[in-house]
């Protein structure tokens, strides 16, 4: 009986050690990611809340050509830069990147509130396909023309998987 217990303990220790070694041995792969999209965005102001939605088409590295969709809200009481947050996803033929905008994302308008320069960071919440399990934060920059609703945006960064 004592032998059996000793063997079981040894086996468990060996298994745990192996698992630990295996997990630490797995190299973290850095994946540079860039994407750019353009399309139409809409902002509907209700009081001091700007409800934002956007859809566009473009190209993302590794996920390929596809579309972007995003939605969120902004605080239009703050000028000239409106802080905003929200979620979205980039979808291509070879994968999807879902993201959540981090605090500090903003759109800075011109004097007339026509053209906004947008920037911020997006944390990847889920990735599939060629970017399966990729995590990290991407910087995004772009422009939104409130007059005609057009926008263009670029994402850059290095993900880890």
């Amino acid at each position: 009986m004592r032998r059996l217990v000793t063997s079981l303990v040894a086996l468990a220790v060996a298994a745990l050690t192996l698992a630990a070694v295996a997990s630490s041995a797995l190299p973290i792969k850095k994946v540079p990611f860039t994407a750019s999209y353009s399309g139409q965005a809409a902002t509907k102001v209700d009081g001091t809340t700007a409800n934002i939605s956007a859809t566009g088409t473009g190209l993302g590295s590794l996920i390929g050509a596809g579309k972007i969709t995003a939605a969120g809200t902004g605080d239009s009481s703050q000028q000239p830069c409106v802080p905003f947050g929200g979620t979205g996803s980039m979808t291509g033929a070879k994968g999807t990147v879902a993201f959540k905008l981090t605090t500090g994302s903003s759109g800075c308008g011109d004097d007339g509130g026509h053209v906004f320069s947008v920037k911020g960071y997006a944390t990847v919440t889920k990735a599939t396909g060629k970017l399966l399990k990729a995590k990290g934060t991407l910087k995004f920059t772009g422009i939104y023309n409130r007059d005609d609703g057009t926008f263009s945006v670029k994402f850059t960064g290095t993900l880890k998987k």
Binding site: S38, G58, P80, D110, G112, K119, T150, S152
Partner: protein
Amino acid sequence: MKRILIFTAALAAFAAVTASAKAADPLPFPSAQVLQVFIATQTVLPDGTMNNYFAPGSTVVFRSYAVDPKSRSIVAPKLVKYFYVSIPNQPPLKYTYDATAPGASTGLPWTATWTVPADYPQGTVAFKTLLKLNTKRQGQFIQMPVSTAMLTISKTPPPVVSPGAPAGSAGVVQSGKLDLSLYVDSVAGTRPVGAPARQIGCSQTNVYKRGEQLVVRAWGTDLNTSDVLSNDNVKEAHFSIAGQPDTVMNWGAHGTVGSQVFFWTNALIVPPTFPLGEATVHVVFTTETGKTGTYDYVINVIP
């Protein structure tokens, strides 16, 4: 044949995506990249007061500095083959190097003085500053296309708010090899608090009364890549004034719709208790790659 068709279709799709993206892309001032010698030029009165409205017969001092992108160093006189201001319908106006000259500063030591002819046409003056180094590299400066802040000749210019700040150390802070080259100026904002608005909002000045809106404007380049500083490559930009919280500078569109350009700005209301006299606006840019550039801009706060 099938392969060719697929390739052509893919190319067309890519072109469509690129074209639609380009249509909405920002236009950084003066362009996405500056490969030539970087030049910054301000227009001032002989006492160093920033100004852009001048009457015929008055004196405009152009003051400048330049950075050679190859050596990433401030251009010294011995490196210059020619450096002058080109004014429409006027002979070239040569620069001289003297940080103590009227209107000059240690940071902007090149000056050229122009007495506006009595019959010079009223309106915006599309001047250029042109430089050529002995190494044959050239550079050009033009003003940001915001009409209220461009050199303008008028028989009825708005009154000058003076006296100007002693130019002193105004200009780029760093020496040796630079990572960033910066242009900085300031205008009187259109939204003062507790002070009357200027006759022409967003006109250039470095003299403020308490309650007026100090608007700092800037653009620059990353000398390692030649890229103009924008949201794409800048991690953080701000200006600091002693006793005041830092003011983040924003990359935004300015000018008339249809011909807007993007550069960096933000504003600060001069507090009612702000000390009178000379104050330094310390401008700092930090890029995503960790490079920094700083510039000290001098204002004068008057009663």
